[in-house]
Amino acid sequence: MRNLVVFLLLICAGFANAQSKYVPVTNMKDLEAKLNANAAKTNTIMCDFVQEKHLSYLQDTIISKGKFWFQKENQLRWEYMQPYKYIIVITNGKFIIKDNNKKSEFDIQSNKAFKEVNNMIVSSVRGTLMKDAKFQIAAFQNANSYLIKLTPKDKTMKAVLKQVELYFNISDQTIYKVKMIENQDDYTIINFKNRKINEKIPPAVFIVN
């Protein structure tokens, strides 16, 4: 009887493990079509996020929390609220940063680095990063989610990032997690929660005072 219980527990554990294990996506075009369709019908996104910066050697994690707003085509507010205050707003061709009380404003088009960052953030949020030729792309899935791994081809980005992982819900193709892995194996995970899609965002959200 005891052996039967152990056997059943092992079967359950194996089954659970199989559920979470990722396998390569066989039909990339189908996946891309689903993500594009979702992106096409998404006009606004509002959500909370929890960011975990994992310092591998130091065995420590820095946790921060905040809110995120996105409005088509490329208006975005990324606001850290705990344990520090920091705001990034992209709007009207400007990249605005407010750290503590200091506000800095940059023209996206005149600054290559900001242009790249802008493209990457917006593409990540909209789930259209798969179209970006600057990355080598591999896609996987399990019972609940798609995992898209992006490996930078660009030398400058490679110096900073080893890989970016995007996690999408299979049910509605919304992105729920991003993992950015650096070259020393430190990594940052951003989990998105309390997502609201296509709700009206007040214009004041994209103003920084």
């Binding site: 910066k53 820095i62 921060s64 850290y80 344990p83 520090y84 110096a159």
Partner: protein, 205 residues
């Protein structure tokens, strides 16, 4: 009588002269406090939100200090979004670069930043405290000189024996506020190199 009066007058004069000067030679009655670094070793990790203005560039991010079991200190500067700018190890009074992004990976910038960080986590290398109190302010702060091999530093400490100000030929460091033993706000300003740093405490464990 005359002799005693003269001696008395000389003693009074000496007392008057010594009171009007700011320097006081330490006697056996005065104890030179043991000066501790701005960031003492009594924490595991400390996280500071930091702004660095260097040349025409402005960086903001988080400075993470960790005291390791082997007595070394690890220092990481990363952006608020988690990307690392640089990581140093401070061990046996020397810095080692663990990782560094391009902009900071220049000898003069690394050396300047490391010298600044040394003054936060340690005392100047091979320095000794000069046995003179150079200044004694109304609020009880004392200023001492620390003499190193090639530099001298003026250290001002408060009544709680914590450093509030360091003056060196090329820079000054101010600790504007303490939370217990932990500095809450630190400013470093260079006079000959375009560099300013401001640290604001986020948390300490």
């Amino acid at each position: 009588m005359k002799k005693f009066l003269l001696l008395f007058l000389l003693l009074i004069s000496a007392l008057f002269i010594s009171c009007s000067h700011k320097t006081t030679q330490v006697t056996n009655d005065v104890v030179i406090p043991s000066i501790q670094p701005i960031l003492r070793k009594d924490f595991n990790t400390a996280l500071y939100q930091t702004q660095i203005d260097i040349k025409e560039r402005h960086f903001s991010g988080l400075f993470y200090f960790k005291n390791m079991p082997d007595t070394s200190t690890r220092i990481v500067f990363l952006s608020e979004m988690g990307m690392g700018f640089f990581e140093f190890e401070y061990k046996n009074r020397e810095f080692k670069v663990i990782s560094c992004q391009d902009f900071f990976d220049k000898k003069i910038i690394l050396k300047t930043l490391q010298n600044d960080l040394r003054l936060l986590i340690d005392l100047p290398k091979d320095s000794i405290v000069s046995p003179f109190i150079l200044a004694h302010s109304m609020d009880g702060n004392l200023t001492y000189e620390l003499v190193g091999k090639s530099e001298s530093y003026l250290y001002t400490i408060n009544k709680e024996n914590a450093i509030v100000f360091i003056q060196e030929k090329r820079k000054k460091i101010q600790v504007l506020e303490y939370e217990g033993n932990t500095p809450k706000q630190i400013q470093i300003e260079h006079t000959k190199f375009p560099l300013k740093l401001e640290f604001n405490l986020v948390n300490v464990k």
